[in-house]
């Protein structure tokens, strides 16, 4: 057996062991920890979606929570006001998220990436403030009483039901992202990220693929939003603010930009670290922030990066004080 195949087998074994542990976890865990892990799976999905935009295509999106909000509100409104069954709201939410991805992306992606960051930041705030002011979206108090979903005849009610639902969705998202990454489309994104001019000289239209990355990211965020709505049964504008977007971006960057296992690790860290530091009470976000700054200083490529890789230009400027590496 060669060294590489041994390593491949070892990592396959570790993955299988980890998945088994996650599937058995509800047998031993308290409801509190089930809830924490369900949130972690949730952030895994969101971070994987944002990773298409930031990691694969190298674009900085500071308003990703907007797509998450669009998915959540679509499901929230359709189920409570129009009594549409949950599963039928899913394609509607995906379509609406995709559409908003095009509407925001089409003008913004023609600009330099720094402007994209500003436009997406603005878009995120517009969505949140709109949700806060419309009666349809329940204003500041949001939407409550979202019915618990029935998926293929099985009513999802307990903590454990949602744990499994999100675990499975996170795995499916991960596998889908892996297939995308190693496809013609995934390569086109990487070419553009590495050198946009060289990609264009090979006949790849950078704008078209950036827009596609934006839309794919939006759809994943929208789908996560629908599940968020039915899990929480209540949604409010403050769940979709700028800090939410930043937190998801942190998950992507923390673990290792563009590399899928790193993104999963990052998502777990942003959920588990604040939990682990709970005893420090209001100090915990301070500690969390200090930890992030330390990490960006000592490991700017992330905890589990893909070889040596450049961060997107503006992302690097924003996070490293502009001097890069």
């Amino acid at each position: 057996m060669t060294a590489t195949s041994f390593r491949a087998r070892a990592s396959q074994g570790a993955t299988a062991g980890l998945l088994l542990a996650l599937f058995l976890f509800p047998r031993v865990a308290s409801n509190y920890w089930l809830d924490v892990f369900t949130s972690a799976f949730f952030y895994v999905i969101l971070a994987l979606g944002l990773n298409v935009v930031v990691g694969f295509a190298g674009l900085l999106d500071l308003g990703y929570a907007a797509f998450f909000a669009i998915g959540a509100y679509t499901t929230g409104i359709l189920t409570t006001v129009y009594h549409v069954p949950f599963l039928l709201t899913v394609p509607a939410a995906a379509a609406l998220a995709a559409l908003s991805g095009v509407v925001i992306g089409a003008p913004a992606l023609r600009l330099r990436s720094d402007y994209l960051a500003i436009v997406t930041l603005g878009f995120g705030e517009i969505i949140r403030i709109t949700a806060k002011n419309l009666t349809l979206t329940g204003s500041a108090s949001g939407i409550y009483g979202i019915p618990r979903p029935t998926v293929f005849g099985h009513a999802l009610k307990t903590q454990q039901d949602f744990y499994y639902l999100l675990l499975i969705l996170a795995i499916v998202t991960y596998l889908a992202m892996r297939r995308l990454e190693h496809s013609r489309v995934g390569r086109a994104w990487k070419y553009i990220r590495e050198d946009e001019d060289a990609a264009a000289a090979m006949g790849i239209d950078p704008f078209r693929y950036k827009l596609l990355a934006f839309v794919v990211g939006a759809v994943v965020g929208g789908l996560a939003g629908t599940v968020f709505a039915v899990r929480m049964t209540a949604i409010a504008p403050e769940s979709f603010g700028f800090m939410q977007s930043v937190l998801i971006l942190l998950a992507v960057i923390l673990g290792g930009l563009g590399r899928l296992p790193g993104v999963v690790l990052g998502a777990f860290l942003i959920v588990l670290l604040p939990e682990a530091m709970r005893e420090f009470a209001s100090w915990r976000y301070f500690l969390f922030g200090a930890l992030l700054i330390a990490m960006m200083h000592f490991r700017p490529e992330g905890l589990w990066p893909a070889g040596r890789r450049k961060m997107p230009q503006s992302g690097r400027a924003a996070l490293n004080g502009g001097d890069g590496r």
């Binding site: 496809s183 001019d197 070889g307």
Partner: protein
Amino acid sequence: MMLLEVERLSLRFGGLEVIRDLSFAVPAGTIASFIGPNGAGKTSLFNLITGFYRPTAGEIRFAGERITGLPPSAVARRGLARTFQNIRLFKTLSALENVLSALHPRTRSGVFAALFRTPGMRREEAWAREEARRALAFVGLQDVADRSAGTLPYGHRRLLEIARAIALRPKLLLLDEPAAGLNPAEKAALADLIRRIRDELEIGVILIEHDMRLVANVSEHVVALSYGEKIAEGPPADVLRHPKVVEAYLGEEAVG
């Protein structure tokens, strides 16, 4: 038939005239060279032809079609490939993945094909990899297919950029100073490669080159530029001896 026709082309950046009223034509199947001192506008001309710059005035026709103002990706899809003066590879990706970028226009699998790994997508992927390996083998880089481009030695990176460009199956290949930084043996191999690209792949070649021996050795047609204007055009033997060309390179006193 003329493959590339440039008519009364001008490019101005503010007050700076980079290209001034330039006209020339390159027949199909020719190896041609653009020569001229630094700052003559050769690379700007490449950027104009490949759509990276928009001309202030004038027209560019490729295979009879007007391509002025088309974006770079559209120009590439019409059969115009290029390399860059300062080598622009996708550094963290493997040599094979670099060449695969050029197969993009000739393949079509999208997001859904990738998610469901359709049989069509898998066939296309296998075909593209085969085609990319052929392009690597053509320049002699078959053994480094899986190495990341950034780790290859300089000479190999130059070759890899050429492999990527020919994998596009262009009608015309623009090489921006392909011999820069190569040793004499590598330059001789490059001259052979350029001839093989034209003879075996039937791709026309235009090179920007400062090595006059290489220019005289491989090209059949030379366009000489100075300060954005054409000062001579014709067979290399005539152009390289042309008084204006000698003057442009050596300065007036040397001629005087």
